[in-house]
Symmetry: D2
Subunit: 331 residues, 4 copies
């Protein structure tokens, strides 16, 4: 009766997923937490009431007491662990990106199709954010006329210690690649990449994408924005435009200033999105009905764009986005 | 192991509580829904997966399969049903107001104290709203200096068909009475009531309260504001002020206007508050640890202010707020 | 052909008037600046190109080269100097308040009527502020339905060294008394005054006024608001409400905050209002056509309310506002 | 003593300039209005008190009673008329663009240098807008760290009847080309141009420019934005960002919406900028001191970028911006 979840990875994201499932998602049991660092896994289990700590991902995936798996391990393990879940026939919610190589993504697509059942959801949680969802609803109702452009801004306080410009494209921008593709219901045709030279090594990356549906998607990824975690977006339609509004709970007047706070990272900004996503995933697994979440195919598409983006960054040219034809299995 | 909840009342609030418990609160089971209108109870049960429908409140309260009770019946049943829950020794989350007569509230206080255990939480959910909570946190940290005033605005689209001015004070304003008392950590000393004569029968009610702690609390209750459901508030401190910011997900540009939507009723405005309240209540009952929610004593205090307010409305005078001394049981 | 203006007072307001006339108002000549402190007068004259410096107000008023007079001297000289201008038959723009005693105001009304010509405009410049004007236009068009309430907030960074609570009512609040009376097109019936005891000597003053037209006007004057110079207002109508929006030129993101600046005093907030007022006054004098500015009668009315307010502050009672019948001369 | 201005062109811009000079700029006389349509010129003269109507631009320029000239004629006359003013040795404020051909601009530069005196100011009024000016001041003080990018959005309600995409680049974007160049204090290196194909003939034009100083300037010109006249901008620095805030005077609550109005054209948005520009121009001519306004050289630079932009639009390639070396005369 109860639906038992195992979580692989007890870092920032894994701990947050465990907390969300424990506190916000009815109808599930946290069966096991797995991390190479057992102390970290133990702490998350203690904080959330998860039943077991497991040292080894295969042990978790193959545990008959685990009905479904959440992958929040480092990026390079996403695809291999997803393949293991498919092999075990277990539904999996895999953090983004599915992989940074399309080759690996294709292996997942192939395995899932062979298994004959849709088991994989990718953690592109922005699809569940109330702001993106509200704008998509407006667009779908025709309130804004036909979509023309989507301006996206993705800003972090500070870069990772080993930051390279490719990471802005492969690691951060896939959120925008996916959510804009979902918003506009169109795949990408090409990508151009620009950077302001005087920003040095951590300079923002600015991308201009054209979609097959005839839109422009313009994305700033600014990994060293300093001032706060800030995700903005404006959908430009023929009849009007709509902006994302980030959650702010208070306006404060102090010291000759009116002030709103920015969060230091993405969790407060997307707290609703993660909760909705995780609830929708459980519901979808239990009922067999689809949700707006991203499939393995969507994960592949985001990676295909990122690969083209990295080439555009290196060559300074507009690079076509290459994708295989969409398998019927994902229609 | 599972904690079974029964809900009395399947109207707007009862249905919403059922939905919240079913979708957003882990660790509970919806055991029974009770409503005089059995079809309505049945519909809520079907929508939320509640196990049973019960025709009669006492049957629900006394059902050994029910661990705790939510009262969302019409106002006049709040106190009697709460007394029945106390008699049955069951934790109860009672919608506000506890009663519109202090006499009834006092009976609940007495019964609870006699029973020797705190069983009652009143549904003043604003204490769990992220905006009020953030401002209270600022105030408690000293960011704003000492509190001086709290300006409150409470606006509804349209009045109930049988609206009378007293209802603005007895039925709507208790939300402000409670949340300001909680925010400022002070009881009330007196209340004055004003109305703009040219507003006719549904004119806004404007109240000025002085607290025992030396603050002013100014409250507009505007039951016929027409333009939307809108709750505003500004805490004025010695060093600065802070405003509540209502949740808005998108800014839209259309037809020579920039537009944000207002909700038509309170549910979208306080969706977070209700979820947090209901989760906190369950956690509190299970762990025995207190939460920021309102006790039966707080329910009594809100009603005591409302009674003074009604007299102030009738007499046009500043009326002192009369309260019994706080029983040790509630400290 | 040129219209020559003399300014009495070279303090903050006088200097600002001189600057506005010199830089922003075509068709005039700054003929003379007068101040007890001749050095101060000289500096203003040098900064603005004014022709002369005059030591003595009567000398300025009687100077045949001066066509019209601006009074920006200390408050106690407003009425006597205005009377001198009337006696000289010269148009005068007198800073608010006309006087802090109704008795003095009545002397001005009498003198002006006897002279048989409207010569006096009071510097209630908010009537020319684009925000107040836009809301009044909406109200007059019926966009908001019938007006019910006007919530006003008037905040200064810090009190004058000799601040007493009466000054909030006699010196600051007249701006609100006048602009609300103009907005609602109604005189006042009564006033009640409240203060939060824990604010000490500089505590905000909160006033609730009822108009003869059946509105409520609620005014916070907070002379020690610390955080900035901030004037807010919300007109509540039957169909909707409208807020004043202060001019802000940039939103800045820095250090985990989104920030807008508040000015430290009223000049940046009302820079447009003063310019429009002074231009309208000159135009009105030259053409003989009226403008939305305040007359001596309006000056008297503001003082009458302030007198009632001081009594309400002292007695803690609701005090009726007493006014003479409006002379036909001012219709 | 009085400074006499003649205005060539009595269309929307010419009429607005006449109004501004008549109502807002002290120290000048409107001497003459010139328009091919004499009735239109007559109307403007009557509305503003201009002394004469002149049928022919040369007659106005050569009129000894005219001290300085404002050119608000159609674009193709800007350069020839500016040359005529230089020949007559008269200061000229020429509406943007100086010309749509760099060749013509160069002829003006050459003539002005030969004349040996700076006589030309181009009407890039945004340099005087309080929002741009405030952000530039922040940047110059170092508040935002080194500038990295400037995102610009320029939206009109509806296109001209004969709109072609080149016009977005040659006619609208020069405002952004100039103001970003001024803000960043850097010339341009290259320009890339994109358009969303599904926008059809009036699709927005999106430009990415790299400056010689190492910044990116991204410009959307959306000539058919429908929803309002809207100019936005965000300066992205190393330490923070700053947004332009357009003037809004009231927030209105009506019909389940909070609403601010957009203007239908640029005049209300830039009312302050035009006034400040025109005052600064007069002051500069009278005192011989420079102001922040654009020179003929700045006019040439904006046109050089526009020419590269048109080529980039046609070829789909990134096009280098070609400029002559800056003559010492303009340093």
């Amino acid at each position: 009766m109860t639906f038992a979840i195992g979580i692989i990875g007890a870092g920032v994201m894994g701990a947050d997923h465990a907390r969300i499932f424990a506190e916000e998602v009815p109808g599930i049991v946290l069966q096991a937490i797995c991390d190479a660092d057992q102390g970290r896994a133990r702490k998350v289990a203690d904080d959330t009431g998860a039943r077991n700590v497991v040292g080894d991902p295969p042990a978790l995936i193959d545990d008959s007491a685990v009905d479904a798996v959440v992958i929040a391990a480092p990026d390079q393990f996403h695809a291999p662990l997803t393949l293991a879940c498919i092999a075990a026939g277990k539904p999996v919610l895999c953090e983004k990106p599915l992989s940074q190589q399309t080759k690996e993504c294709l292996a997942v697509l192939e395995a899932e199709e062979k298994r004959g059942k849709r088991l994989v959801q990718i953690g592109f949680m922005r699809r569940f954010d109330p702001s993106y969802a509200e704008i998509k609803a407006m667009l779908d109702r025709g309130d804004l006329g036909r979509a023309l452009m989507f301006h996206c801004f993705h800003r972090n306080v500070a870069p990772a210690y080993d930051f390279r410009a490719e990471m802005a494209i492969c690691n951060s921008a896939p959120h925008e690649f996916d959510v804009a593709r979902w918003m506009l219901d169109s795949d990408y045709k090409s990508i151009s990449v620009f950077r302001p030279p005087n920003g040095g090594e951590t300079a923002p990356v600015f991308m201009v994408l054209e979609t097959l549906g005839g839109h422009l998607v313009n994305i700033e990824v600014n990994i060293s924005a300093t001032y706060g975690y800030d995700v903005r977006g404006e959908l430009v339609g023929e009849k009007g435009t709509a902006f994302l509004r980030a959650p702010v709970h208070a306006d404060v007047n102090l010291g000759l200033k009116q002030i709103n706070a920015y969060p230091a990272d993405w969790r407060p900004r997307f707290v609703d999105a993660y909760r909705q996503q995780n609830r929708a995933w459980v519901k979808s697994v239990l009922t067999g009905k689809p949700n707006p979440g991203a499939s393995a195919w969507d994960g592949y598409c985001a990676t295909a764009v990122a690969e083209a983006g990295v080439e555009a960054l290196k060559t300074g040219k507009t690079v076509p986005v290459q994708q295989i034809a969409k398998p019927k299995f994902y229609s």
